[in-house]
């Protein structure tokens, strides 16, 4: 798939659409879209790796939890994401409902003067969140609080 994500207009905050053949790929691209509101992921050296594992009750909640995890890594570990190496989402039956399990490996670098950080995402919201199927897979739309 050519286009990984696109940044959309939003009056007060950050909004983007991420594309992928499946939910995992979509979320990986959403991660790149979100960090592009703060820094240029292509300029970040893949110096360190982080693994992320989490669970949610639905794909929307999984989106919020996964992207919030990247804000956590930024604020607590000074980690700037540059690349999503691997990402997998599993749907597991759970008492008639489904649990969504995500595992990802991402790489990037610590904050340093060589990287310009020009914005701050405070939180990931459900506002205008949409997950839709398209000819090529999925489209995920997210608004983040800035």
């Amino acid at each position: 798939m050519e286009k990984k994500y696109e940044i959309l207009e939003h009056m007060a905050d950050g909004k983007f659409r991420a594309y992928g053949r499946n939910l995992g790929e979509c979320l990986g691209n959403a991660a790149l879209a979100m960090v592009s509101l703060m820094w240029d992921p292509e300029k970040i050296k893949p110096a360190i790796k982080e693994t992320i594992k989490l669970e949610a009750t639905g794909p929307e909640q999984l989106t919020v939890k996964f992207l919030t995890e990247l804000i956590y890594l930024l604020e607590v570990k000074s980690f700037l994401l540059g690349r999503v190496n691997e990402i997998r989402v599993e749907e597991v039956p759970n008492n008639g409902n489904k649990t969504y399990r995500l595992e990802a490996e991402v790489s990037g670098d610590r904050i340093s003067p060589e990287y310009e950080i020009y914005g701050q995402v405070k939180a990931v919201t459900y506002n205008e969140m949409k997950i839709e199927t398209s000819d090529d897979g999925l489209v995920l739309q997210v608004v983040v609080d800035m």
Partner: protein, 473 residues
């Protein structure tokens, strides 16, 4: 949607469908046009549908679309039948403003203005991922969450008088750290005593105009050209994480089906989860008070060092812009305690309220409204009329009218710096791109916002302040 004009500045969405009360918007024609362009009015209507809402769902003059509740939304709920909602407070819990006065005139500091700003920039950590000066232990953080600015003053950051002149005296007593996640704590530890980024700023300002001499004098504002310092920031990652956590917990417990907007998720105020959120939110409020207390202290240190003295640098006031509080108000002629949500709104108590510090009780509570970066900010005073009109609330700022993308396309940070320099405003920032995103042209006209506040008497004009030095995170 029906929107009825009641008078020049008052608009109403009559009760219909699921609405339990009408929604009321305070705006001029120009401002209501802006509110119509996004989801503001629909969101105000959605809030009017929530259980236990009292009187009306109110919208302040600077309102714009938020998540669930509009920014600039004020809603009060019955404690027994009503709810509390993280979306009604916002992600940046106790994002707020502190204002310090000085005895200096602009001419006193002109020669040292650059140095003052450079020193403040050195002393006050700002920008994304910039850690604080102090490495906190988890136990100290817990104490801060419970005691707020009181803790900071005890550590030597500022004076007891600062506490008198802070909303809630810098400490919400219902705070508890017990229901705050490890994640939120971890985000809180490195960020205490930091300004943050985005729309947060620290400005050296001067008095540009005084509208109410008597009230201004009571606040310590005496003449045009007098120098002041404004600090605008909040509870940083700790507050953002608490909001995120409780939205998830409330969703998992109550589900979100039937809600017109997922971010309207809420819990009954008196339920276990409602109380857990309330106490955690109070703790984030305290963290933000401590944060601004420390920053104010460093600013005074810099003035002492550069100017030789920080004498007269008394705090005028410190207000919350994003908060839910239990307050006494009159509904249908009866006084009762309510949970008042102010999301992007400032409390605006009139004369006589016991919550106002004694020195201001005769005149009313100082209301601090920051403009966008590099434009005017305002000091207003709370009114008795606001009690009836908005549960004692008014506007909180300018509000964006242009997306960040568009601002980036139109402006360059360096160009904004040069324009400010031509207006004799010094600028220090951590990122030029960040400066472009916050260009003042991307914001509503704050002059129009405060004009409506004054005309409706939600909060009356006291003084206009303009920046002479801007530090942006």
């Amino acid at each position: 949607m029906d929107l009825v004009r009641i008078n020049e500045f008052v608009w109403e969405i009559p009760k219909s469908g699921e609405m339990k009360v009408p929604a009321r918007i305070y705006a001029s024609e120009k401002l209501i046009e802006l509110a119509r362009r996004d989801q503001t009015l629909q969101q105000a209507r959605n809030v009017a549908c929530l259980p236990g809402i009292q009187r009306m769902s109110y919208v302040m003059p600077d309102a714009h679309q938020g998540y669930g509740f509009p920014i600039g939304g004020v809603a009060a709920f019955d404690l027994d039948e009503g709810i509390i909602s993280p979306g009604g407070v916002g992600y940046d819990i106790n994002c707020g403003v502190r204002l310090l006065r000085t005895d200096y005139k602009e001419s006193d500091i002109t020669a040292r203005r650059k140095e003052l700003l450079a020193e403040i920039f050195k002393e006050v950590p700002a920008g994304v991922g910039k850690g604080g000066i102090t490495k906190l232990s988890r136990n100290v953080l817990k104490e801060i969450l419970v005691r707020g600015a009181e803790w900071a003053v005890e550590q030597g950051y500022g004076t007891a008088e600062d506490l008198d002149r802070t909303e809630e005296r810098g400490r919400m007593k219902d705070a508890s750290w017990e229901f705050i996640s490890d994640r939120a704590m971890e985000r809180g530890i490195p960020q205490l005593g930091t300004l943050g980024a985005g729309n947060h700023f620290l400005e050296i300002q001067k008095v540009d105009e005084i509208f109410d001499v008597e009230v201004a004098r009571a606040f310590g504002i005496h003449e045009k050209g007098q120098v002041l310092v404004m600090i605008h920031c909040g509870s940083r990652g700790l507050g953002h994480q608490i909001a995120t956590d409780y939205i998830e917990l409330m969703e998992n417990k109550f589900g979100f089906k039937g809600l017109p907007d997922r971010e309207l998720i809420n819990a009954p105020f008196k339920s276990d989860l409602g109380q857990r959120y309330y106490k955690s939110m109070c703790a984030a409020v305290n963290y933000a008070f401590a944060n601004r207390q420390m920053i104010a202290h460093w600013v005074r240190d810099v003035f002492a060092k550069v100017m030789g003295s920080a004498k007269g640098m008394r705090q005028i006031y410190d207000v919350c812009h994003n908060v839910a509080k239990v307050e006494k108000h009159t509904v249908n002629g009866k006084e009762k305690l309510l949970c008042v949500h102010r999301k992007g709104a400032t409390r605006s108590f009139g004369p006589g309220r016991a919550e106002i510090p004694e020195v201001y009780r005769q005149v009313g509570q100082p209301v601090l409204i920051p403009g966008s970066m590099g434009t005017a900010s305002y000091v207003l005073v709370g009114t008795k009329e606001a009690e009836e009109m908005s549960f004692s609330s008014t506007a909180h700022g300018a509000g964006r009218v242009m997306s960040r993308n568009e601002a980036l396309r139109r402006f360059r940070g360096e160009q904004i710096r040069d324009e400010l320099a031509r207006k004799d405003v010094e600028l220090k920032a951590t990122s030029w791109k960040g400066v472009a995103e916050e260009a003042s042209a991307a914001y509503k006209d704050v002059d129009e916002v405060v004009r409506v506040s004054h005309e409706t008497r939600l909060g009356k004009l006291v003084a206009r302040l303009v920046p002479i030095g801007v530090m942006k995170g």
